[in-house]
C-alpha cells in the first residue's frame, strides 16, 4: 500500500486531488467513503476520522 495509491484512491473518491494538509472533509470526504478506504488500506476508521488529511493518512498506512 503506497502513499501514491492512497492519493489516487482519495482523488477518485472526492473527484479532485486535495493538498497534503487539506482537511479532506472540506473536499467532500464522508464517513462512507472513509470506511471504504479504511477497509482497503487495513487501517482503523477512527484513526482516519480523527485526522482527515492525506499526510496523516499516509503516516497511518506506513505505520
Amino acid at each position: 500500500m503506497s502513499a501514491e495509491e492512497l492519493r489516487t484512491r482519495v482523488a477518485e473518491l472526492v473527484g479532485e486531488l486535495p493538498g497534503d494538509d487539506d482537511d479532506l472533509i472540506d473536499h467532500g470526504m464522508d464517513s462512507i467513503r472513509m470506511m471504504a478506504l479504511a477497509e482497503r488500506f487495513g487501517v482503523d476508521f477512527m484513526d482516519l476520522a480523527e485526522r482527515p488529511t492525506l499526510r496523516a493518512w499516509g503516516e497511518l498506512i506506513r505505520g
Partner: protein, 1357 residues
C-alpha cells in the same frame, strides 16, 4: 454545582423517548471488550477512570428536558467479578441491561471487568443512549486501550476533558440564522412529503421494552449501499411494495467537534429506494448510493424533527421501516500485550427491525450481522425466518450482481425484458448530480441532420409542394429555397442576424435563409418597446438587422466573436426581468427535429398552423418540424387568434391538421368546446400544447367534448432545452396531466425534486454563460419541480420559485387553482401569496366566475375546505373580470393583488380615514411611474421593481402635487403606499427632512455626457488600467493580470510623484510576499482618481480602488468609491468593476444581477458601492462592455496565510484576544480568498466578460464557527454578547476603541445574506477556507506580531 447546560438535539430525542416510558430499560446500550492476554487490572482501572473522568457526557443528570447538569465524579464502582465462561458473563450483562436508569438522578453508566479464566477478561460498559452512541462506545474503548498501553510504558498524560460545549455551540449555530436547519428541513419535507407509509415486515407495534436478536455470519463484507439494496429488495420480496424506506444511522460527526467527544450525536435518516423486479443488484446499489449522496448534506436534521414536521409522531406512524447500518468502528484494540475485540450486547431500542453489520475483528474473523427486532412486533420464530431468508437473498444477489435481482433470487436466468424507462442513475458522475433517478428517452430514431440539409432535401425531392401558405398565397419549396438563398447572399458573412419582421413570407424566408447561410437568427418582435429591443441588441450584439425590405449591417456586432455553429438566439425574461439570450446550436436543433418528428407524427401531407410569435421558441417547433418533414406551414393572421370560434373556423377553412397552441390559449379552446360555443374541425388530427401546466380539469373537458382519434400532446421544455424536452399523450381517464417522458435523445434526472436535463438537445447556454458540463455533457437545471409516476411519466409540480410557504406549509398555487376550478361556477382562477403590511404571509385567490349571482368568499372557502388542507386555504377571495397574464399567456402572479375591501379585513389603514385621498394620490403616482395598475396600499415600491430613477420621479410628482418638498429618502424608509402616506401626513412637522441618505441616490444617475464605448485603435501591446493596486487585493490582481494577459498594466497609484508611487507599489507586493514585477510590463502613474481625470486608450479598465470604512458616512467615501468610478467610466474602455456582495439586499438570494436600492444600504460604504454599481449598469445600458465582480469578505490566500489587518474580522480578534473575549456573532457570510479573487477577476478581464459575477464559490463561513477555530488554535476567549464585548474592548487602546465604535454604530447585526449565486466565477479553482486555513492565518498573525502567541497551540486536525 455546575451550571446547567442545554441538551444536544440528539439528546432531546432520547430524553423524550425515555420520558414516554420511564420504567423502560430499552435505552441502555451495552458492549464488552474481550481482552485476551496478560492484563494488569489495577492499571486497567487507572486507565479506565481517567478516560471516564474526561467523558463529561457520562456524568450528566437531567432535571428536565431543557437542562443537563454535568457533575464529574470518580465516585463510581468498577464491578470486578469472576465468571465461569463467556456465556455466564453475557447472562450477567443481560441482567444488568435491565437496570432502569433515572435520568434526573443518574448514574448513566456502569463499568465491569469480568475475569473468565486465565488470560481472558471481559470489560463491560453499559451506558444510557442519552450519553453515548456506537461511536462513543468505540471512542471510549480506544481511549482506554491507548491509555492503558501508555501507562504500561510509564508514559502519557491524562486525556483532556471532552466537553459538550463546542457541540452545543455547533447545534446553536445550526439552528440559528445560518438557515442551515431550515434548508435541511425544506430538503427533507420535499423529499418525504407525500411519501406512502413505509413497508414493514410486521404490523407496526408500539416501541417495546424488549429486543430480540439473531446473529448471522456473512459470506463477505458488505458496503452500506449493498446492505441498503439487498434489504430494499428483501422488503419488495416480502411486501410487494415498489419503494422501500429504510432508516440509515449516520454518525453525524465528520467536520464536527463531536469527532473527539464520547456523547450521543448520531442521527437516523430515511432513505427512499425504489425497487423494480428487473433491476440488478448493481443498479439497486447505485440507486442507494445516489440517494445517500443526495441526502448527505442534510444528515444533521434530526429524524425526530422530521417526524414532527410530517405528523408521523405517535401511534403506528413510521418515518422509515427497517434500519440498516454498517459499523465502521470494529477493529481490534491493543491493551499493552493483550488484544481486545469488541462485542455489542445491546444497541438501544428498536422500533421495528434493525440490521447492523460488523466487520469482525481478529484472525479469520468473518463479518456478521446482528438482526434486532422489537419483541412487541415479531415473534422469535418470525425473527429466525427473516434472518434466514434475508441472508439467503444476500448470498444469491451478491453472487449475481449483474442479473435482475428477482431472477437472481430465484436462481433463474433473466427473462430478457428491458425495464421500463426508469433506469438507475447512469448520469454523469459527480456530487453535483446526486440523482435518484434518470429517465432516458432512448436513442434518436434517425440521425440528427442539420435542418438546412433536410429542407434543401425536401426542396429537391418535392419542389412544387407548398412550403408556406398565408391568406391564399403560397410559396412552394423551390420558391422558398430560391428566396432563402438570395437572402443568404445578402448576409455576407454575418454570424448573428437580428430578424425584426412580422409573421409572413419574408420572416420565414429570412429565418430559413439565415440558417442556410450557416448563421444564427435572433428574432425581435416589431411590437416590443424600444427599450426591450435595445436591451436584447446590446446583449446579443448581432452583426446584421433585418427589417421589412432591408438588411442592415450593424456596427458593434461580435462577428467572428459569436460562437460558431449557432442556429438561433432567443431571449427569455429572466426572473430579474432582464432578457437572457439562450444560444441554441445547429446540432441541438437537428437533435430536436430528429427526436420530435416521429413522436409528433408530422408527415409531408400535414398542414401545420404557425401560431406562435417568432420570438417564442414554439415557433421553432412549428417552422422546422414542418419544413423538415416537407409539410405545409400555414401562417395565421392576427385576427385568427382573436377568439376561439374564429380560430377553429379558420383551421377548418384552411384544412389545418396539426395545431400547436400555447396551453393558456388551449385552456380557452377546451372550455369553449365543452360549452358548445365552438367545434373542433374534423381536419385536425393532432393538437400540441405547451408553455405552462395543463389543468386536469380542462383536459377532462377536452376529452369529453372531442371525438377519439385526435391526439393531444402535452409538451414541456424550457427554451434552454431547445423547444421541447418531454412529451405526454394525454388520454382520457388520467386524473393528472403529466408532461410525459423525455423525447428520444433527451435524458432527464430528478435531483431533489428538480428536473435536470441532459443530452444533445440542450442549448449551448446563455450568451457569455455556457451551461455547466458534467461528465462530458451539458446539464441544465430547469427550476421545475417534478415527480416520477410509477408508469415512468413525469408530472410537473410547479416552479421551484413559484412555491412559497404559509406557516411552514409548502404551497403550490397551481394545486389551489386546480381545486378552485372544480367549483362549477369558477371559470378561471389564480392564486398568489402576499406579504401583509405586518409581514405575515397570506394567500389570495382571484377567480373569474360564470355568469350568475356573484360568488361569495364563504362559498369558495367552503368549496376548498372540502378538498384542501386548512393551511393552504386562501384567506382572501376576489371575483375579477379577468386574470392578469404575461405576454406568453401565463398567469402573471406578480400582477395579482387583493383589491381593497375584499377578503380579510386589513389592518387599520387610512383607506377610509382623512388620508384616504393622499393614499389614492400616492397609489396613482406609483402606478403612473411604474406603468402598472391595480396597486394596493400594502404593495412595496421596490418589490414592484421600482428603481432609483423611478423613486426620484415619484418624489418629484408628489412634491409637485403636494406643494412641498418630499425627500426621496422618505420613500426608501417607507416603501409601501400605506406607510408612505402615514409618513407624508407627518412630513411637514418632521425635522431633518433633507435626510442624509437622499444624497447617495442623487449620485446614482449616469450623466448624459458619459459616452458609450469609445472607438479606439488600441495600443500595441494592449494596456490595462488598474486602480487600487496598493491595497490588499490589488497586488494579487496585478500579478494575476500579468499572468492572464499579454497586456501592459498601468497602475494608477495615489502618490505625489512617480518615484513614491513605485515605492508604494513595491511595498504592497512585498507585504504579501508576491514576486517582483516583471521588467517592462508595468507602468506606474501617480494619480488622484477623484481629482484629476485620466486619459488614454485602454483595452480594459480594472477598477479595484475603494475606501472600505465601517464607520464613515457616504459623503466621506464618495470621492473614491463613486466619483472615481464615474471618472473612469468616461474613458469609454471595457470596464471591470470590483465590488462587494455587501450591496445585495439582506435576506434575499444574491443573484448575479444588478440590484435596485433597498433598505439594507445602511451605511456609507454600502451606499457608495451600490451607487458605483448603478453607474456601471447604466454605462452598460449605453453599450459599454462592463462587468461587476463582487467579492465577499476578502481573506488572505489560505496557503500563504496573510491577513488584512484592517478587515473587521481581524480587528475583532486583535481587540478581543488580549482581553480574552470574542463577540458572539451569529452571522454566516461569504469569504473570498484573495488569490482566488485575483485569478477569477483577471480571467474574466482576459475573456472580456460582462455582467455581474459573484465571486463566492465557497459555502458561507459562520462567524461562530470561525471563532471556534480561533479557540481551537489555543486562544482562550469566552463568547460574550456583542454589547458586553464592546464594553470590554472599549478601553483597550485607540484601535480597539474604533472597532468598538463600529459595533456601537451598527446596532443590531443585519439579517444574514441570502444564498449567493456564483455562476461563471465558480469555474475557477478556489482553495477551501476552514479550520486549517484559519490556523495558517493565525500563525501568520503570531509571526507578524498582530496577535500574541497562544499559551498552548491546538492542532489543525
Amino acid at each position: 454545582m455546575a451550571e446547567p447546560l442545554p441538551l444536544l438535539p440528539a439528546q432531546e430525542g432520547i430524553w423524550t423517548g425515555q420520558a414516554l416510558d420511564p420504567g423502560s430499560p430499552a435505552y441502555n446500550a451495552g458492549e464488552y471488550v474481550e481482552i485476551r492476554g496478560p492484563l494488569d487490572t489495577a492499571l486497567f482501572e487507572r486507565a479506565l477512570r481517567s478516560v471516564i473522568g474526561a467523558a463529561q457526557a457520562l456524568h450528566a443528570t437531567f432535571p428536565d428536558v431543557s437542562a443537563q447538569v454535568i457533575t464529574v465524579t470518580d465516585d463510581w464502582e468498577l464491578v470486578r467479578a469472576e465468571a465461569s465462561g463467556v456465556e455466564e458473563a453475557e447472562a450477567w450483562m443481560r441482567t444488568d441491561l435491565e437496570t432502569v436508569v433515572d435520568l434526573a438522578r443518574g448514574p448513566l453508566f456502569r463499568q465491569a471487568l469480568l475475569a473468565v479464566g486465565p488470560g481472558l477478561h471481559l470489560w463491560y460498559q453499559r451506558v444510557h443512549h442519552i450519553a453515548a452512541d456506537g461511536y462513543a462506545f468505540a471512542l471510549l474503548a480506544r481511549r482506554v486501550a491507548a491509555r492503558y498501553t501508555a501507562l504500561r510504558r510509564g508514559a502519557g498524560d491524562a486525556p483532556p476533558p471532552a466537553s459538550l460545549a463546542p457541540l452545543l455551540e455547533e447545534a446553536a449555530a445550526y439552528a440559528g440564522p445560518s438557515g442551515q436547519r431550515e434548508r435541511d428541513r425544506e430538503f427533507w419535507l420535499a423529499r418525504c412529503g407525500g411519501m406512502l407509509a413505509p413497508p414493514l415486515l410486521a404490523p407496526a407495534a408500539p416501541a417495546g421494552r424488549r429486543v430480540l436478536r439473531r446473529r448471522v455470519e456473512l459470506p463477505a463484507p458488505v458496503t452500506p449501499e449493498t446492505l441498503v439494496a439487498v434489504t430494499a429488495a428483501y422488503l419488495r420480496e416480502r411486501t410487494g411494495a415498489g419503494e422501500a424506506v429504510l432508516g440509515l444511522p449516520v454518525m453525524n460527526r465528520l467536520g464536527s467537534a463531536a469527532l473527539n467527544v464520547p456523547c450521543m450525536a448520531m442521527n437516523i435518516v430515511p432513505l427512499r429506494v425504489p425497487v423494480t423486479p428487473s433491476a440488478t443488484l448493481e443498479e439497486l446499489t447505485a440507486r442507494a448510493g445516489a440517494e445517500l449522496r443526495a441526502t448527505r448534506p442534510h444528515h444533521r436534521y434530526r429524524y425526530e424533527w422530521l417526524r414532527r414536521d410530517l405528523r408521523l409522531v405517535g401511534g403506528d406512524r413510521r418515518l422509515f421501516g427497517p434500519v440498516v447500518n454498517v459499523l465502521p468502528f470494529g477493529r481490534s484494540l491493543r491493551f499493552g500485550e493483550a488484544l481486545g475485540t469488541v462485542r455489542n450486547v445491546a444497541a438501544g431500542p428498536v422500533e421495528d427491525l434493525s440490521i447492523a453489520v460488523s466487520t469482525g475483528a481478529g484472525e479469520g474473523a468473518r463479518p456478521y450481522a446482528d438482526i434486532d427486532v422489537n419483541a412487541a412486533a415479531y415473534r422469535p420464530d418470525e425473527l429466525d425466518d427473516h434472518a434466514e431468508a434475508w441472508l439467503a437473498l444476500l448470498r444469491r444477489l451478491t453472487r449475481a450482481p449483474a442479473r435482475p435481482w428477482r431472477a437472481a433470487a430465484a436462481g433463474r436466468s433473466s427473462p430478457g425484458l428491458p425495464e421500463a424507462s426508469v433506469a438507475p442513475d447512469r448520469g454523469p458522475r459527480g456530487r453535483s448530480l446526486g440523482a435518484s433517478v434518470v429517465l432516458d428517452g432512448g436513442p434518436l430514431p434517425v440521425p440528427a441532420v442539420p435542418v438546412a440539409h433536410l429542407i434543401a432535401g425536401r426542396a429537391a425531392a418535392t419542389p412544387h409542394a407548398v412550403a408556406v401558405e398565408r391568406e391564399g398565397r403560397r410559396l412552394t419549396y423551390r420558391e422558398l429555397m430560391e428566396a432563402a438563398r438570395t437572402f443568404a447572399d445578402r448576409l455576407r458573412g454575418a454570424r448573428l442576424v437580428a430578424v425584426m419582421l412580422p409573421r409572413g413570407f419574408e420572416a420565414i424566408t429570412a429565418i430559413v435563409g439565415t440558417v442556410l447561410a450557416g448563421a444564427a437568427y435572433l428574432p425581435l418582435d416589431p411590437a416590443w418597446p424600444e427599450a426591450r429591443t435595445r436591451a436584447v441588441l446590446a446583449d446579443a450584439r448581432p452583426d446584421a438587422l433585418v427589417t421589412p425590405g432591408s438588411v442592415e449591417r450593424l456596427a458593434g456586432g461580435r462577428g467572428d466573436g459569436h460562437a460558431p455553429g449557432l442556429a438561433y438566439v432567443m431571449h427569455t425574461s429572466g426572473s430579474t426581468g432582464r432578457p437572457k439570450g439562450v444560444a441554441v446550436g445547429h446540432e441541438a436543433l437537428a437533435h430536436f427535429v430528429a427526436g420530435a418528428t416521429g413522436v409528433y407524427g408530422v408527415r409531408a401531407d400535414d398542414r401545420v398552423l404557425q401560431f406562435a410569435p417568432l420570438h417564442f421558441d414554439a415557433s421553432v417547433e412549428e417552422i422546422f418540424l414542418t419544413l423538415c418533414a416537407g409539410a405545409t406551414l400555414v401562417l395565421r393572421t392576427d385576427e385568427m387568434a382573436g377568439s376561439v370560434p374564429r380560430l377553429l373556423q379558420a383551421c377548418a377553412d384552411l384544412g389545418v391538421t396539426v395545431l400547436d397552441l400555447p396551453t393558456a390559449f388551449w385552456h380557452e379552446v377546451a372550455y369553449a368546446l365543452s360549452a358548445g360555443s365552438a367545434v373542433l374541425p374534423p381536419c385536425v388530427r393532432t393538437v400540441v400544447i405547451g408553455g405552462e401546466a395543463a389543468l386536469p380539469e380542462r383536459v377532462a373537458r377536452w376529452h369529453a367534448a372531442v371525438r377519439g382519434g385526435v391526439r393531444l400532446l402535452n409538451t414541456y421544455g424550457p427554451t434552454e432545452a431547445t423547444v421541447v424536452a418531454t412529451v405526454a399523450e394525454l388520454v382520457p381517464g388520467d386524473s393528472e396531466a403529466p408532461i410525459g417522458r423525455p423525447l428520444p435523445g433527451v435524458r432527464a434526472a430528478v435531483v431533489d425534486g428538480e428536473l435536470v436535463l441532459m443530452g444533445g438537445g440542450l442549448a449551448r447556454g446563455y450568451l457569455d454563460a455556457p451551461f455547466p458540463v458534467c461528465g462530458g455533457e451539458r446539464v441544465h437545471r430547469t427550476g421545475d419541480l417534478v415527480r416520477v409516476r410509477p408508469d415512468g411519466q413525469l408530472v410537473h409540480l410547479g416552479r421551484a420559485d413559484d412555491q412559497f410557504k404559509i406557516s411552514g406549509h409548502r404551497v403550490d398555487p397551481a394545486e389551489i387553482e386546480s381545486a378552485l376550478l372544480r367549483h362549477p361556477r369558477v371559470r378561471e382562477a389564480a392564486v398568489a401569496g402576499r406579504s401583509g403590511a405586518d409581514g405575515v404571509k397570506h394567500l389570495a385567490a382571484h377567480v373569474v366566475q360564470e355568469p350568475g349571482p356573484p360568488l361569495t368568499a364563504a362559498e369558495l372557502r367552503r368549496h376548498l375546505t372540502a378538498c384542501l388542507p386548512p393551511a393552504v386555504i386562501p384567506t382572501s377571495y376576489a371575483v375579477v373580470p379577468r386574470i392578469p397574464r404575461t405576454p406568453t399567456g401565463k398567469i402573471d402572479r406578480d400582477a395579482l393583488h387583493t383589491p381593497p375591501g375584499q377578503g380579510t379585513p386589513r389592518a387599520a389603514g387610512p383607506a377610509g380615514g382623512p388620508s384616504a385621498g393622499l393614499m389614492r394620490l400616492v397609489v396613482r403616482v406609483w402606478e403612473d411611474v411604474l406603468g402598472t395598475t391595480g396597486l394596493s396600499p400594502g404593495d412595496d415600491f421596490f418589490e414592484l421593481g421600482g428603481h432609483s430613477l423611478q423613486a426620484v420621479q415619484v418624489v418629484t410628482r408628489l412634491s409637485a402635487a403636494l406643494g412641498h418638498d418630499v425627500p426621496a429618502a422618505l420613500l426608501f424608509r417607507h416603501p409601501t403606499a400605506a406607510t408612505l402616506t402615514t409618513a407624508l401626513t407627518g412630513v411637514a412637522g418632521e425635522p431633518g427632512v433633507a435626510a442624509p441618505e437622499a444624497g447617495y441616490l442623487g449620485d446614482a444617475v449616469l450623466p448624459p455626457d458619459v459616452p458609450g464605448p469609445r472607438r479606439a485603435s488600441p495600443a500595441r501591446p494592449p494596456r490595462i488600467l488598474l486602480t487600487g493596486a496598493t491595497g490588499f487585493v490589488g497586488p494579487h490582481l496585478l500579478t494575476a493580470l500579468l499572468e492572464a494577459t499579454d497586456a501592459r498594466v498601468v497602475c494608477a497609484v495615489r502618490a505625489p510623484d512617480e518615484a513614491s508611487a513605485r515605492r508604494r507599489l513595491a511595498e504592497a507586493l512585498a507585504a504579501q510576499d508576491l514576486p517582483h514585477l516583471p521588467e517592462g510590463r508595468v507602468d506606474v502613474v501617480p494619480a488622484d482618481l477623484a481629482a484629476t481625470p485620466l486619459t488614454g486608450d485602454y483595452a480594459a479598465v480594472c477598477h479595484n480602488a475603494a475606501t472600505v470604512s465601517l464607520t464613515r458616512g457616504y459623503a466621506s467615501v464618495r470621492a473614491v468609491n463613486v466619483a472615481a468610478t464615474l471618472a473612469l467610466l468616461r474613458l469609454g474602455a471595457p470596464f471591470h468593476h470590483v465590488s462587494t456582495l455587501a450591496v445585495a439586499p439582506p435576506g434575499a438570494p444574491v443573484e448575479e444581477a444588478y440590484v435596485p436600492p433597498h433598505a439594507g444600504l445602511s451605511d456609507g460604504y454600502r451606499q457608495s458601492k451600490w451607487v458605483a454599481e448603478e453607474l456601471v449598469r447604466q454605462a452598460a445600458e449605453r453599450g459599454l462592455p462592463a462587468a461587476v465582480h463582487r467579492l465577499g469578505r476578502v481573506v488572505g490566500a489560505p496557503d500563504a496565510g496573510q491577513v488584512n489587518p484592517s478587515d473587521l474580522f481581524w480587528r475583532v480578534l486583535r481587540a478581543g484576544i488580549p482581553v480574552g473575549a470574542l463577540p458572539d456573532l451569529d452571522v454566516a457570510e461569504p469569504w473570498t480568498p484573495v488569490d482566488y479573487a485575483a485569478r477569477a477577476v483577471a480571467a474574466l478581464v482576459a475573456e472580456g466578460a460582462t455582467g455581474v459575477h459573484n465571486l463566492a464559490p465557497l459555502p458561507p463561513v459562520h462567524l461562530r464557527e470561525a471563532m471556534a477555530w480561533v479557540r481551537d488554535y489555543g486562544y482562550r476567549a469566552a463568547a460574550v454578547s456583542v454589547a458586553e464585548w464592546t464594553e470590554l474592548v472599549r478601553r483597550g487602546g485607540a484601535e480597539s476603541a474604533a472597532t468598538a465604535a463600529f459595533f456601537d454604530l451598527a446596532g443590531q447585526p443585519p439579517p444574514a445574506m441570502g444564498p449567493v449565486r456564483c455562476g461563471r466565477a465558480a469555474a475557477f479553482p478556489c482553495p477551501p477556507v476552514g479550520r486549517q486555513a484559519m490556523f495558517r492565518y493565525l500563525d501568520h498573525c503570531v509571526e507578524t506580531g498582530l496577535l500574541p502567541r497562544p499559551r498552548t497551540k491546538g492542532s489543525a486536525c
